[in-house]
C-alpha cells in the first residue's frame, strides 16, 4: 500500500463548537489529527469555514464514555410516568396569575 506512515494512524477527536457567545459548545463532528494542537487547527478549518464558531473544543474520542444503547430505553425509563415533574401536571392554579 502507499507507505508505512499509514500504519501509524492519527487518533480520532470529537469536535465541539460554540456558535456564539452565550451559547454552549455543541458537537459538530469528528476528525483525525496527530495531537491536540493540530486537532484544534483542523477543527477550525473543517467546521468553521463560514463563521460557525467563536470557540472550539476537541476531545480524544476514546475519552468519551457513553450509556449502553442495548439497555433498550430502560435506562431512561425512570423519567416516564412521572408527569408530576412537569409544571403542566398541576392544574388547580389555572386562571391564577403569575403561577
Amino acid at each position: 500500500m502507499s507507505s508505512s506512515a499509514d500504519s501509524s494512524t492519527w487518533p480520532l477527536w470529537e469536535v465541539f463548537i460554540r456558535g456564539s457567545r452565550g451559547l454552549s459548545h455543541v458537537h459538530a463532528g469528528s476528525l483525525h489529527a496527530p495531537d491536540a494542537t493540530m486537532a484544534i487547527r483542523n477543527a477550525r478549518d473543517l467546521y468553521t469555514r463560514r463563521n460557525e464558531g467563536t470557540s472550539v473544543w476537541v476531545v480524544p474520542a476514546d475519552a468519551i464514555m457513553a450509556s449502553d444503547p442495548d439497555s433498550k430505553g430502560g435506562y431512561f425509563e425512570s423519567a416516564q410516568g412521572k408527569s408530576y415533574r412537569h409544571a403542566t401536571y398541576y392544574t388547580q392554579s389555572e386562571g391564577v396569575k403569575h403561577l
Binding site: M1, A5, D6, W10, H32, D35, R49, A66, K72
Partner: protein, 343 residues
C-alpha cells in the same frame, strides 16, 4: 461472553448458550430496528442494525466521500488559471469545501466501524468506486462553470433528501454539506452567465460546456430505476427517499428555466414540456457510455486515480513527521511529569 464465565459447564453447552444469547439479541435488535425505521426515526452508531444495512451504508457513504475527494481534481486544475484573483479565491473556497465534505462523510462512515485508513486504502487500490462524473475533464474555464451549475446542481437534488437518511451521522453530514453546496451551484451559474453575456467566442464556449456536461450530469442520479437493484432496499431502509428517475426528472424540470435565464440551450432536441405529466420529457441517455465510465474507461479514470495516489504518497512524510512530533511531545511531557513526582 468469555469462557471463564462457564468454567463449570461443558464447553459445548456454553457455546450453545452464547449462540442462543446472540440469537436473542439479534431478534430483539431487529425488532427495535424495524420499529425505528417504521417511525421514520434515526438509527445511531451504537444501535443494533442488520449487517446488510451497515454494509450498504458503508459502501454508499464511503463512495460519496471518495467522490468529494476525487471531485477536487477537475476544478483544482483551474485554480492557477482562473481569470481573476477573485475567481481564484472563489474556486479555492469551493475546492476546500469539497475536501471538507469528504472528511464529514468519512467521519460518518467511520461510525459504522470501518477504519478511515481502510477507506483511503480502498480508494488508493482502485477497489472503491466514486461518482463517474469526475472522470470527465474540465477542458475550458466554461467547464468550471458547467460543473458548478450542473454537477453541483445535480448533487444538491440528490443530497437534499439524504439529509433525512435514517442513519443519523449520514443525515447530519448531509445537512452541513447541503448548506455549503448552494454557493457552489450559484457560482457556477454566474461563470456561465458572464460568458454567455460576453463575446461571441465566450458565448460559444459556455454553450459547448453545457453541451458536454448535460448528459453526464443527468447520469449522476444513477441508472434507470429498472436497472438499479439496490434502490428498493435502500428506500425500504429510509436511506434513499426518491428513485433515480424521480430525482433526474426533478433536476431536468429545475434546469430548463435556468438555462433559459442563461440564454443558452440544453443539447436535447426531444426536450419539451409535457402538459399531461406536468414535467419535461427528455431523451434517453447514453447508458452504454455510463456503464463504460463506471467500469473505469472514463476519459480520465486512470489519471484521477494516479493523481490521488501521488498526492497520498508525496504527503506521507508530512503525516509521519506529525506523528513523530506528537510522540516526542508526549514523551517529554511524561518525563517532565515523572521528574516532578520524583522531586
Amino acid at each position: 461472553m468469555s469462557p471463564q464465565n462457564h468454567q463449570h459447564a461443558p464447553l459445548r453447552l456454553a457455546d450453545e448458550a452464547d449462540a442462543a444469547a446472540a440469537r436473542d439479541e439479534a431478534e430483539s435488535g431487529q425488532h427495535r430496528f424495524d420499529e425505528i425505521i417504521a417511525d421514520d426515526s434515526r438509527i445511531e452508531p451504537r444501535d443494533w442494525m442488520p449487517e446488510s444495512y451497515r454494509k450498504s451504508l458503508v459502501r454508499q457513504v464511503s463512495q460519496h466521500a471518495h467522490s468529494e475527494i476525487i471531485g477536487m481534481q477537475p476544478e483544482g486544475n483551474w485554480i492557477s488559471r482562473a481569470p481573476s484573483l477573485k475567481r481564484k479565491a472563489i474556486l479555492m473556497a469551493k475546492v476546500q469545501d469539497e475536501a471538507g465534505h469528504g472528511l464529514y462523510l468519512y467521519s460518518a462512515a467511520e461510525t459504522l466501524g470501518t477504519p478511515r485508513e481502510d477507506m483511503y486504502d480502498q480508494l488508493y487500490s482502485g477497489k472503491a468506486k466514486y461518482s463517474s462524473i469526475f472522470n470527465y475533464p474540465a477542458r475550458t474555464w466554461a467547464d468550471v462553470g458547467a460543473i458548478g451549475w450542473l454537477v453541483d446542481g445535480a448533487a444538491i437534488v440528490n443530497q437534499v433528501p439524504l439529509c433525512r437518511a435514517s442513519y443519523g451521522p449520514y443525515g447530519r453530514a448531509m445537512v452541513r454539506i447541503c448548506k455549503e453546496e448552494s454557493f457552489h451551484q450559484r457560482q457556477g451559474w454566474e461563470i456561465l452567465y458572464s460568458l454567455s453575456h460576453g463575446t461571441q467566442e465566450q458565448r460559444e464556449m459556455a454553450q459547448a460546456a453545457v453541451d458536454r456536461f448535460y448528459g453526464p450530469a443527468l447520469q449522476m442520479f444513477g441508472p434507470p430505476d429498472g436497472d438499479s437493484p439496490n434502490s428498493q432496499q435502500s428506500m425500504a431502509w429510509n436511506i434513499k427517499r426518491f428513485t433515480n428517475d424521480e430525482l433526474r426528472q426533478r433536476f431536468v424540470d429545475m434546469i430548463v428555466p435556468q438555462v433559459e435565464a442563461l440564454g443558452l440551450t440544453l443539447p436535447d432536441p426531444e426536450l419539451k414540456w409535457n402538459e399531461e405529466r406536468g414535467h419535461y420529457d427528455f431523451a434517453e441517455l447514453d447508458w452504454d457510455e455510463f456503464f463504460a465510465v463506471i467500469k473505469g474507461n472514463g476519459p480520465l479514470s486512470r489519471q484521477r486515480l494516479e493523481h490521488y495516489r501521488s498526492a497520498r504518497d508525496e504527503g506521507a512524510w508530512v503525516r509521519e513527521a506529525a506523528v513523530a512530533y506528537a510522540n516526542r511531545a508526549s514523551q517529554e511531557q511524561d518525563r517532565d511529569r515523572a521528574a516532578l513526582i520524583g522531586a
